[in-house]
């Protein structure tokens, strides 16, 4: 799905965060990215989203180089990124509205599917329902709780039928029950489809729950991709309790040894 070859990236005037960095992610993978702040985990996500551009090296998704946001990649940020003057439904429909604005041109919107406005509305309403916010569709973001806003942002992304979901600290500002609920939602979605997702987090437990593989980044220039396999991903139910705790401990030690 994703192949990164010899990626080098630095913010202007700073030492590189990635130097000849390579990484491969299979289709259907569930990858967590964790590391101390400033390690470049968000940068890597933005590079994959086509919002930043490498100084050298290449990023291929589905055998195509990424030079701009890819229509079938979805991005969910901690800050929701909702338009405050649009209702929940309008916000959730925004991706499809932009799709309609450009047409299925393959650059801004997927080319393999024609968008019928009527179906677009149904699609959006379907996701609002699955995320439990169909009753809020005429509310504005300012009237919502953080969790409800994030549900709206997730509905907006999923309405685009992404095959790759990129998430940057999507749950870190949410209360525990909401976080678990949304984590389970994404995990279930992943289990039922061939969705690939990558989640950036600073939270060890989130990284272990969400990532079948965990990429650990360090603060100085990342060269080798340090990947930890993780069999404990998925629902954090009681049976896995011991192993889960052990995995978190291993990850904590690994992070500690790197700084």
């Amino acid at each position: 799905m994703i192949t990164i070859d010899d990626l080098t990236f630095a913010y202007s005037g700073q030492s590189p965060i990635f130097q000849d960095f390579s990484l491969h992610v299979d289709r259907g993978a569930a990858l967590s990215i964790i590391g101390p702040s400033g390690c470049g985990k968000t940068t890597l996500l933005y590079l994959l989203a086509g919002l930043r551009h490498p100084q050298s090296g290449s990023i291929m998704i589905d055998h195509k180089p990424i030079t701009r946001p890819r229509p079938r990649s979805g991005l969910v940020l901690q800050d929701h990124g909702l338009l405050p003057w649009q209702t929940v439904r309008e916000n959730a429909r925004l991706g499809l509205t932009i799709w309609g604005f450009y047409g299925s041109d393959g650059r801004h919107a997927p080319a393999d599917e024609q968008l019928v406005p009527n179906q677009a509305d149904q699609r959006v309403d379907g996701w609002l329902k699955k995320l439990g916010i169909e009753g809020l569709r005429d509310q504005y973001p300012l009237q919502l709780s953080r969790g409800q806003r994030q549900r709206t942002a997730i509905a907006r992304t999923l309405a685009m039928k992404p095959d790759l979901l990129l998430m940057d600290e999507p749950f870190s500002a949410l209360d525990a029950p909401t976080r678990e609920d949304l984590q389970n939602f994404i995990i279930t979605l992943h289990d039922k489809s061939d969705l690939t997702y990558i989640i950036v987090t600073h939270d060890i437990e989130v990284a272990v729950v969400m990532g079948q593989k965990i990429l650990v980044l360090q603060k100085s220039a990342n060269q080798e991709a340090q990947i930890m396999d993780n069999a404990c991903a998925g629902f954090s139910d009681g049976r896995m309790q011991g192993k889960f705790q052990q995995k978190c401990e291993d990850l904590r030690n690994l992070l500690g040894s790197m700084t």
Binding site: L75, L77, T97
Partner: protein
């Protein structure tokens, strides 16, 4: 956001206005202060005739100026707001030109652009232009970078960002700037219309009535110009309320 002005309040305000006017007319008791009872019949009779034509001429000039100012200031403001490097170059210049009372350029504009409607519209447009330019620039610059990134990730290029993010984001500020500057615009129009034209409320008030001592007719003109300001103000105000609906009832 303040509340909508209701009809009852508007009627009470109007009644008080005319009552005070009438009292002043009694106290001053000179031709320069006619009673509203004398002016209103003249106004209603002439607004569909001669006065109406002057009214339309002035309205057309103000609307044209607003149109020109919005169409030029919004894109330039958005451009400056999105590209900090360019903004840093022009910010000092804008800061200096912005507070200059543009009316002082009236003679220069007349000489350079000729004594046509275009020069009058240009002058008024310049006043509104800077008001809008500054607020749009600041709105665009203050948009959350994460908001732009997440909308870009939905496929939005420059055009869609303008259409779905920058324009609606700056619309409330554009309307506020318009509402605040429309008073100045009409004041400048009044001055610009006093000479070198034959139509417009400024011409009607000063040349056709004041200079020939037709005071009641002059007041009909003043009433028409006030009405122009009032209607524009509340039209913009209503649009503001509409685009600001989402700000009501915040959750936290």
């Amino acid at each position: 956001m303040r509340r909508r002005l209701n009809i009852r309040a508007a009627l009470i305000g109007l009644l008080m206005f005319f009552a005070i006017w009438q009292v002043l007319a009694w106290i001053i008791h000179r031709p320069i202060m006619p009673s509203p009872l004398q002016v209103l019949p003249i106004f209603t009779a002439s607004v569909f005739g001669n006065l109406g034509i002057h009214f339309l001429a002035s309205t057309a000039r103000v609307l044209a100026a607003i149109g020109v100012a919005v169409v030029t200031a919004v894109p330039i403001g958005l451009g400056l707001g999105q590209v900090p490097k360019v903004n840093r170059i022009f910010a000092p210049l804008i800061a200096i030109v912005y507070p200059i009372p543009k009316i002082v350029f009236l003679p220069v504009i007349y000489v350079l652009m000729g004594i046509t409607d275009i020069s009058k519209i240009f002058l008024i447009a310049t006043i509104i232009f800077f008001q809008i330019l500054v607020v749009v620039r600041d709105e665009a610059a203050n948009l959350h970078p994460e908001l732009i990134l997440s909308v870009r990730s939905l496929g939005a290029g420059r055009r869609a960002l303008f259409r779905y993010v920058y324009f609606p984001a700056s619309l409330p500020a554009v309307l506020t700037a318009l509402r605040v500057s429309v008073g100045t615009a009409i004041a400048v129009l009044f001055i610009a219309e006093q000479s070198l034209t034959t139509y417009g409320l400024g011409y009607y008030i000063v040349v056709e009535t004041y200079q020939v001592l037709r005071y009641p007719e002059m007041y009909a003109g003043i009433l028409a110009m006030s009405l122009l300001g009032l209607v524009l103000y509340f039209m913009i105000y209503n649009m503001e309320l509409k685009v600001n609906r989402y700000r009501s009832e915040e959750h936290n």
